[in-house]
Every structure is written in C-alpha cells, then in structure tokens.
C-alpha cells in the first residue's frame, strides 16, 4: 500500500518532537523530566500534549527525583519516559541501577552534549561508555538505540518501549543535539506492539491476589548471585535477539566505516562522493549500541582491508570494534570529541585509506 493510500501523512518535525510522537503512539502517558539543553523540546512537547489525552506530565526538582518518579510509575505498571542530557543522565545512574536490579522497564532519552562536567552544548558522542557499559553501580546493561534520522527518533522510541517491557529493563535512546534539533520529514507509521501489555508483576494493591514486592535487595544465602545470573541471561538474550544495524554501500567494500548516529549520517554523504570516485567504501552502522553488532563487525573486518571507526569522541565505540575482531591492524580511527566531522574530512580519510590499501579510485582527477 502506498503512503497516500494508507492515509498516513508525512510530518515535518524536530527529532526531539518525533521522539514524543513515537512515545505517545506507543502508549506512553507518563513523562517526567527536568530542564537541560539540548533536549527541552521534549518536556515542552509532553507538557503540552500529554494532559489533553489524559496523560501525566510532571516537572521534577532534579534528575535524581525524575528517575525515581519513573521507578514508581514503572513499578505501578505504566509505560513511562524521561529525557535529559549528559549531566542529568549522570544524576539518574543511581535510579537506573536500581531499576535494572528491580527489573523495571522505562525509556530514558539522552540527547547528549559535550562533556565531561558541564562541558558544552555542542553535539558529542562522549556518553557512549556511560550508556552501553552500565553507567551506574553493580554491573547491568540496557538496550541502547542510536537513531541517525528523525524517522528513527520516532520508530526507535516505539521499539525502546517494547524492548524495555520485553526484558523488564530500562532502555535508552542515545541521540545528540544534531538529531534532536534538526527538522526533516518522517512517516509516523502505526505502532504495532511487539510485546504483551500484561504486567503480572505490577504494584496495584493486592485486591484479589497475593501481594507483590518489587525489590533489588537480596541478602539471604546466594540469592544475589542467582539474581545476577538471571540478569546476565537477559543481557545475553538481548545480544542474541536484538542486534540492529544498517549495511550501507557494503557491496564489494574494501574500506568499511563503522559509525553511529550523527557521525554515521555525515559518513553517508562522504561515502556517496567516494563511491562516485570509484572507491569501494561502505558502512556498517550499529543501530543498537548495546547489544553491539559484534558478529557483523567481525565479518566486515574479515572481508575488508580497512575499518574506519568514526565517532564524535576520542574513541569509545572503537573499543567495542576492537573487541569484536582480531583484525586490529586494519582498524583506523577518526574522532572529534565536541564537533561534527565534516564530510570533507571523512572523504579525505577515505581517500587516504584507499591509497594505503591499494584500492585507489578507478577515476582520479
């Protein structure tokens, strides 16, 4: 069915707003947050749009309170979301650890900025480690989805709700100021739930059933070890079942870029130019940062002559790429901690690498 026939109209929106539209489409009626640049479009949109549809918007006194509002509403069985940026996400790490331990779903959006500390509001991918390695205490993971377009801000938000409910675990959208603030058309495809809406663990008062307890404290015998292995099996299942990635111009690619989010977006432009020059370059774009597409990266590294990791940081996903493959000698890195790499910079690096591996362009100037 064509788009016109389906009656779905394309929308022109900011990435941050598309997240809100996706969340509401996925049935999220509870949003809590605290102001921080560059994600204020999200609470502002939710404050305007949730109350009229019977939803709840509440501005918290801090991100510490915010994540605990989420914890309570999630324990009560409702879909709930927050958004913030680096400094605020840091304040939420305690609550995220508790929620992972208590097995509570929620969606946390990080429209990241430059750090460390107060840093700056320029786009950055410096929160990769914090997002994918379990930023809080005790050792846990959560699905981390990295959109590179407004369309994905919409669709991956819906997916994040399903993943968090499926695994009873927080899930994160990791964007940045570029994806959040830019406007482009997207198609608000209908939400098709991938999980049951049943939450047989939710706290609603024990009328007509045994009472329920949601907790992360396990003191007796080896309970906490058993609990940790149970959590580990969930993370292992995510690794098996939930990897998402995009293969871009990978046909015959001898130089393979690995990049996510805005860095991947810019890389596409450079790849198009390089391909026109006859350079066999492609990209493997991780869409899930956890679980990381390790198998796919390894296969690409085995087939290519060079792997070019491009990040808006000084090399974080780079470590996961290295861990995915033994072909370390083929890995190169281009990083800009607090700025977007220009297509020209990437193109220059592609050309240089093509020369290095003897994959010179078919047509040179």
């Amino acid at each position: 069915m064509t788009l016109a026939a389906s009656g779905i109209r394309r929308e022109l929106m900011k990435g941050n707003e598309a997240i809100c539209v996706g969340a509401i489409a996925a049935g999220c009626r509870f949003y809590y947050g605290y102001p921080i640049t560059p994600q204020n479009d999200i609470p502002e949109y939710m404050a305007a749009h949730l109350p009229p549809i019977g939803g709840m918007f509440l501005q918290a006194e801090s991100e510490v309170a915010t994540i605990n509002f989420l914890l309570g509403t999630s324990a009560a069985g409702k879909r709930v979301m927050t958004s913030s940026s680096g400094p605020g996400i840091s304040l939420m790490q305690e609550g995220l650890s508790y929620m992972a331990g208590m097995e509570l779903p929620a969606v946390i959006v990080n429209i990241s900025r430059s750090g460390p500390g107060l840093g700056g509001i320029a786009p950055s991918q410096g929160d990769y480690f914090q997002a994918v390695k379990g930023g809080g205490h005790g050792g846990y993971r959560m699905p981390v989805l990295a959109p590179h377009s407004v369309q994905e801000m919409y669709s991956l938000t819906m997916r994040a709700f399903d993943l968090s409910d499926k695994y009873r675990n927080p899930a994160m959208i990791l964007g940045d100021a570029v994806i959040g603030q830019m406007k482009e058309p997207f198609v608000p495809t209908p939400y098709l739930p991938a999980v049951s809406a049943e939450k047989p663990w939710a706290l609603t008062g024990c009328a007509g059933r045994e009472r329920r307890i949601v907790k992360s404290l396990y003191l007796k015998d080896d309970e906490i070890e058993v609990h940790n292995w149970k959590l580990h099996r969930k993370y292992a299942a995510m690794q098996e079942e939930e990897v998402l990635y995009e293969s871009y111009c990978m046909d015959g690619a001898r130089v393979v870029i690995v990049a996510f989010g805005t860095a991947a977006r810019v890389s596409k432009t450079a790849i198009q130019v390089a391909r026109r020059e006859g350079i066999p370059v492609g990209m493997l774009r991780p869409v899930t940062l956890f679980p990381f597409p390790s198998r796919e990266v390894n296969e690409a590294a085995g087939a290519a002559d060079a792997i070019l990791v491009i990040e808006m940081n000084t090399g974080q996903m780079l470590e996961d790429v290295r861990m995915s493959t033994r072909h370390h000698d083929r890995i190169r890195f281009l990083g800009k901690p607090c700025a977007i790499p220009a297509p020209e910079e990437i193109l220059q690096e592609i050309r240089r690498l093509a020369g290095e591996i003897g994959a010179r362009p078919v047509r040179v100037r």
Binding site: V64, A65, G72, G77, G95, Y98, V214, K215
Partner: protein
C-alpha cells in the same frame, strides 16, 4: 467488630492486625520500629485499605519492612521514597500510598525529595522514624543527632560548629504550603502510643480525603547504637530528646484549600 460495625458479644478486644505478618522481626530489643509497624498495620486495617495500598520501603533498618506489612511494596533508593511514592501515586491516584523512612533517609540524603513532595501537596503519607542515628550502618551521626551526642562518626560528641544542629523535620515541613498534616509523636508510654495512633489515623485520613501530603514523625529509640538498656533509651526519649523535639501537631489542614 470494626470501627463502623455494630458491637457484638463476646468480642475480641485485642489481636494481631490483619496487615501485620506473623513473623519474628529483625529489629533489636527495645527498638520502636515494632510499635510503629503495628500502628501502621492497625491503621491500614482500620481504613480497610490493605488491598489498595502500595508501600514504599526505605534504605535503613526498615528496608525489610515488606517482610512484616502485608501489602504491595516497592523499594526505593536511599532517600528517594517520596519520589518513588510520587510515581506510584501519579499512576494510581485511587490507591493508598505511604513511605516509611528513617532520619538519615528522609532528613539527610532525601531532604530534596521530601521537601518537594510536600511542596507539591503530593497526596501521600509519610511515617518518619527519628532515632537520632543511622541504625543499620552501625550508629553513625544523623542529621537529627543531638548536640553532644557521641556516635560512631561523632566520637567526641556532635558539635554545632562542625556538624550543625539537629534538624526539626515536623516543624520544617509544617512551613510548606502543600503540607496538609505534620505532627511529631513518641511511643515511649501507653498514652503516647494512643496519641501516635491518632496522628497516624489523621495522616491516613488526609490522603483518603485528598487533602494532601501528610507526615508523622516518631521519636524512636536505638538502644543498640545508643549503648543503652531499653528502659534507659525510653527515658532518653521522654527527657532529652522530646525536650529538643517537642511533641505536637504542627500543621493540620481541614480541607484541600490550597487551590
């Protein structure tokens, strides 16, 4: 008999509250958590809200209170119980939601969360247990530790120039517009226990009538960490502690008039 039913004879005049689970607790001899738990359970039964209650447990000695009170329960990170309760109550405004927090939890690490929950007039009930020390971690100085009191982290006695003064929570929260009810009680004599029950009943009533945020501060004991016999600990509450922390009702709204 229940509080609204007819009296019949012979009648039972004393029994374990339905909401209090029949197990041995982990609390130390002479500790007043048991009394506060019983008052809480009796009041849950009295209002017949056991099946529509969600409790929020603190971090501290009462972290395991879900083993004793027979309602749906969630844990909260240290000090965050009022924020967690906010999340539960916003999701289910028709459920009864309470937190039960110690002085370290509520008056130190959780100061921000309790003040803003009160200021929002969050329609929850807070039972605040003030025993002037961190019990669970081994008797360190609390925000409510008395001046001169020796603890594991104030071995020379709390000194105001270094550590500040013991914080008066019931009075502090009474100054906040959103607070519907704020009272301080003790449980060291039968008469005090009766007054404590009345205060908890009023606090429950505030939530059920949707008047807003309610808090009851209990002056409690910690014989283990005070290094005292239980009876001496009672005397300390009746004398020194209630001298600095006066018992009484500090705020009582008649209705939700803060529109």
């Amino acid at each position: 008999m229940n509080h609204k039913g007819k009296e019949t004879f012979p009648r039972e005049v004393f029994s374990r509250p339905r909401s209090l689970i029949d197990v041995r607790s982990h609390y130390c001899p002479g500790c007043h958590h048991g009394i506060a738990h019983r008052i809480l359970a009796e009041t849950i039964d009295r209002f017949d809200v056991r099946e529509k209650t969600v409790g929020v447990a603190p971090v501290g000695c009462a972290v395991l209170m879900y083993d004793y009170i027979d309602v749906d329960f969630t844990e909260a990170p240290h000090g965050r119980a009022p924020a967690v309760a906010t999340g539960v109550k916003r999701a289910h405004p028709d459920r009864f939601v309470f937190t039960y927090q110690g002085d370290g939890d509520l008056a130190a690490i959780g100061t921000s969360e309790i003040i803003h929950a009160a200021n929002r007039g969050e329609n929850i009930t807070v039972l605040f247990i003030n025993n002037t020390t961190y019990g669970m971690t081994g008797g360190q100085m609390a925000p409510t530790t008395m001046l001169g009191q020796k603890t594991a982290t104030s071995p020379y006695g709390r000194e105001f120039r270094n550590d500040g003064y013991p914080i008066k929570v019931a009075e502090l929260l009474a100054t906040i517009e959103g607070t519907a009810y704020s009272a301080r009680v003790a449980t060291s004599t039968p008469a005090q226990i009766r007054k404590a029950k009345e205060a908890v009943r009023k606090a429950f009533d505030m939530q059920i009538r949707e008047v807003g945020f309610s808090l009851v501060e209990f002056l409690s004991t910690c014989p283990t960490n005070w290094g005292m016999k239980p009876l001496d600990a009672q005397k300390r509450v009746l004398g020194e502690i209630s001298g600095y922390f006066p018992l009484g009702v500090y705020k009582e709204r008649k209705q939700a008039d803060f529109v």
